[in-house]
C-alpha cells in the first residue's frame, strides 16, 4: 500500500479543460444585471449632481428674472424657465439634492425603525408580536395624506440645514409598517428553525441570538427595502409637495415644480412640468432597477 499522492498546485493554464475566469464582484454584478448597473449609474450621477449642484447649475435656482418668465427652452435656458423666470434646469439639478436627501433620510429612518420592530416582533412572538402587529396595522391603514398633514401641522416645520425634518418623519412613518412586515416574515422563518431553539437551550442571551443569528438573515430584505423605499420616498415627497403639504417655495424640489403656479400654466408652458416629472420618473426608475437587481443578487426568493 503506497502513501496517497501529495497535493500539488497546478497552474490554471496547464489544466486540460477551460476554466471560466473569475471576475471581480463589481464586474460580475454589471454583466449579470446590466439594467441594475444602469440604474446604479443614474443614481451615482444624481448623487454627484446633488453634491456639486452649485458648480454644475448654470443659474441660481432662486434667481427671479421677470424679463424671462415662462420662456421656452432655448440656448440661454436649456429647459426653459418657470413663472418667475427661474431656470428650470438649475432647479432640477438642485432638486436632485432635495430629493436624495429627503429620500435617503426618510427611507433610512423608516426602514431601520421598521426592521428593529420587525425583528423584535419575530423573535419574541406571542403577545408582543400581536400587539406590535395591531399597531402596525393601524399605521398601515391610515391614509398617508392625513398622516403627513397631521405630522406637518402638529410639529410645524423644523428646518435644519435647509431640510424639513418633520417632512422626513412624515414620509418615514408609512414605511415603518411595510418594512416591519417584510422583516418580520423573514425573521419568523429563521426563528422557526431548529438552531435557534438549540441556541436558547444552550442559554444564549436574547440579544446575542438576535444579533448573531436573526439579524444577519434579515439584512438582505432590509437593504432591498431601503433601496426600494428611497424610490417611494421621492414619489411621496413629490405627491405631498404637489398637494402643498411638502416642501415649499422657493426651495427647488421636483414635486413642488409640478404644483402651485405650474398647475395653472402648464398647458401654455409644458416644459415646466415635463422635465421635473421626467426627473422624478428617472430617479425612481433608477432606484427600482437597482433595487430589483439587488434583490435578484441577494435573495431571489423573497416575496415583497
Amino acid at each position: 500500500m503506497s502513501a496517497p499522492a501529495p497535493a500539488v498546485a497546478v497552474a490554471v493554464a496547464d489544466l486540460p479543460y477551460a476554466v471560466p475566469k473569475r471576475r471581480g464582484f463589481f464586474a460580475r454584478f454589471v454583466t449579470t444585471h446590466p439594467l441594475g448597473a444602469a440604474g446604479l449609474l443614474v443614481i451615482v450621477a444624481m448623487i454627484l449632481a446633488g453634491i456639486f449642484a452649485e458648480q454644475v447649475s448654470p443659474y441660481d435656482p432662486l434667481a427671479v428674472d421677470y424679463g424671462a418668465m415662462l420662456a421656452k427652452p432655448s440656448a440661454e435656458h436649456w429647459l426653459g424657465t418657470d413663472t418667475f423666470g427661474r431656470d428650470v434646469l438649475s432647479r432640477i439639478i438642485h432638486g436632485a439634492r432635495t430629493a436624495l436627501l429627503v429620500g435617503f433620510l426618510s427611507s433610512f429612518v423608516g426602514s431601520t425603525l421598521g426592521a428593529a420592530v420587525g425583528v423584535a416582533s419575530a423573535y419574541f412572538g406571542g403577545r408582543i408580536d400581536m400587539t406590535l402587529q395591531s399597531l402596525m396595522d393601524i399605521l398601515i391603514s391610515f391614509p398617508l395624506i392625513v398622516l403627513a398633514l397631521a405630522v406637518v401641522a402638529i410639529l410645524g416645520k423644523n428646518i435644519v440645514f435647509g431640510l424639513d425634518l418633520n417632512l422626513i418623519i412624515a414620509i418615514a412613518i408609512p414605511m415603518v409598517p411595510r418594512v416591519y412586515r417584510v422583516v418580520r416574515s423573514s425573521g419568523l422563518a429563521i426563528r422557526e428553525m431548529a438552531y435557534i431553539d438549540a441556541a436558547r437551550t444552550a442559554g444564549f442571551s436574547h440579544s446575542r441570538i438576535v444579533f448573531r443569528h436573526i439579524a444577519p438573515n434579515v439584512v438582505a430584505p432590509y437593504l432591498i427595502m431601503v433601496t426600494a423605499l428611497v424610490a417611494q420616498a421621492i414619489l411621496l415627497e413629490a405627491s405631498l409637495s404637489f398637494l402643498g403639504l411638502g416642501v415649499t417655495e422657493p426651495t427647488a424640489a421636483w414635486g413642488l415644480m409640478l404644483s402651485g403656479t405650474a398647475d395653472d400654466f402648464y398647458q401654455q408652458a409644458p416644459w415646466m412640468i415635463i422635465f421635473p416629472g421626467l426627473a422624478i420618473s428617472l430617479a425612481v426608475f433608477a432606484f427600482n432597477l437597482f433595487g430589483d437587481s439587488l434583490r435578484d443578487w441577494l435573495d431571489p426568493k423573497i416575496k415583497l
Binding site: S134, I138, P143, I145, V146, I154, F242, I273, G277, N288
Partner: protein, 317 residues
C-alpha cells in the same frame, strides 16, 4: 386555520378603534379650526363671541372625551353626523361622490388586469429575451412615474392632438354609458398605469415560478405544446397570488385617486378628501378616514388569510 381566521377577525376591531382614536386626537391637536377658517378667512370683522357661538353649535367647546363618545355613539348606530362646513349629513356628502370614485377605481382595475395578465405572461414566456426586457421596462416605468404627472401628460397629449379638455361635468354611467366611459377612460389610465405595472411584475414572477415546477416540466416532457402548458397549468396556479396583489393594490388606489381627481377635476372622494382636509371639517375627515381604514383593514385581512392558506409557515397556532 379557523382559529387564525377568528383571531385576525377579532384583531380588526381594536385596529379600527385605534384608527378612530388616532384620527380624532390628531385633528383636535392640530392648530387652526374650521370656525376661524369659515368666518375669518375672507377678512370679515368677526367678534370672539360669534366665534364662540359657532364652536358651541358644532360641539367643539365640549371636552374632548365627550366629543369622542358622541361621535363613537353615532358611529355604532350608523349615524356619521353632519359636515361641519355645509351642515349636510356626512353620509350624503360621501354618497353623492362615491359613485364616481368607485367607477374610476373599478375601471382602473379592469384596465390594469387587461394589460397585466397578457403582458406578464408574455414576459415570463420570453424570459430574458427582448419582449421580457421591453415589458419589464414598461412595468418598472409604471412604478416610477408619478400618477398625477402622468395625468397631466395625458391631458397635454390629448390637448395637442385632439383638442380635448377634461369635461366640466361627468355624465353618470346610467345616463349615457358610452359618453361616461369615454370621459373616464383617461383618468382611469392615469391611475391604472401604476396599478398595471405592479400586476404585470407579479404575473411575470408567479408564472415564472410555476413554470419551473416539476409537474410543468413533466407536462413539457410529455410533449404538450408550450402554449397549452401555460394556458392550462401555469395560469391556474399563478392566478392566486396575482389576484391577491390586484386586491391589495386596489386598496392603495385611494392615494392615486386623490391626486388624479385634482388633475382631471373629478367630483369624487379623493377631491372631497383634499377639500375637507383643507377646511378642517372634522366630522367629514373622521368619516372618510374610517372608511378608507376599514376598507384597507378588510382587504388586508382577506389577503392575510390567503397568504396563510398558501404558506403554512406564516400561520401559527
Amino acid at each position: 386555520m379557523l382559529r387564525y381566521t377568528v383571531q385576525r377577525l377579532l384583531m380588526m376591531i381594536p385596529t379600527l378603534f385605534g384608527v378612530a382614536v388616532l384620527v380624532f386626537v390628531m385633528l383636535r391637536v392640530m392648530p387652526g379650526d374650521i370656525v376661524e377658517l369659515r368666518l375669518r378667512a375672507e377678512g370679515a370683522q368677526v367678534t370672539p363671541e360669534i366665534l364662540a357661538m359657532e364652536r358651541a353649535r358644532l360641539g367643539l367647546d365640549k371636552p374632548m372625551l365627550a366629543q369622542f363618545f358622541d361621535w363613537m355613539g353615532g358611529l355604532l348606530t350608523g349615524d356619521f353626523g353632519i359636515s361641519m362646513w355645509t351642515g349636510r349629513p356626512v353620509a350624503h356628502e360621501i354618497a353623492i361622490r362615491l359613485e364616481l370614485s368607485l367607477e374610476l377605481a373599478i375601471l382602473a382595475t379592469i384596465l390594469a388586469t387587461l394589460i397585466a395578465l397578457p403582458l406578464g405572461t408574455l414576459a415570463a414566456l420570453f424570459k430574458d429575451r427582448w419582449p421580457d426586457r421591453v415589458i419589464s421596462v414598461f412595468a418598472i416605468a409604471g412604478l416610477a412615474v408619478p400618477s398625477f404627472w402622468f395625468g397631466m401628460i395625458i391631458i397635454l397629449v390629448l390637448l395637442w392632438n385632439l383638442n380635448w379638455i377634461p369635461p366640466l361635468t361627468f355624465t353618470p354611467l346610467l345616463e349615457d354609458p358610452v359618453k361616461n366611459l369615454s370621459q373616464l377612460i383617461w383618468p382611469a389610465l392615469a391611475v391604472g398605469y401604476r396599478y398595471s405595472a405592479v400586476a404585470t411584475r407579479m404575473t411575470r414572477s408567479t408564472i415564472l415560478e410555476v413554470l419551473q415546477e416539476d409537474y410543468i416540466r413533466t407536462a413539457r416532457a410529455k410533449g404538450v405544446f408550450e402554449r397549452l402548458v401555460v394556458a392550462r397549468h401555469a395560469m391556474r396556479n399563478a392566478m392566486l397570488p396575482v389576484v391577491t396583489v390586484i386586491g391589495l393594490e386596489f386598496a392603495f388606489l385611494i392615494g392615486g385617486l386623490v391626486v388624479t381627481e385634482q388633475v382631471f377635476n373629478l367630483n369624487g372622494i379623493g377631491k372631497l378628501f383634499v377639500n375637507v382636509l383643507a377646511r378642517g371639517d372634522y366630522t367629514m375627515i373622521q368619516a372618510l378616514v374610517m372608511l378608507v381604514a376599514a376598507f384597507f383593514i378588510f382587504v388586508n385581512f382577506v389577503v392575510d388569510l390567503l397568504y396563510a392558506v398558501l404558506d403554512p409557515r406564516i400561520r401559527y397556532g
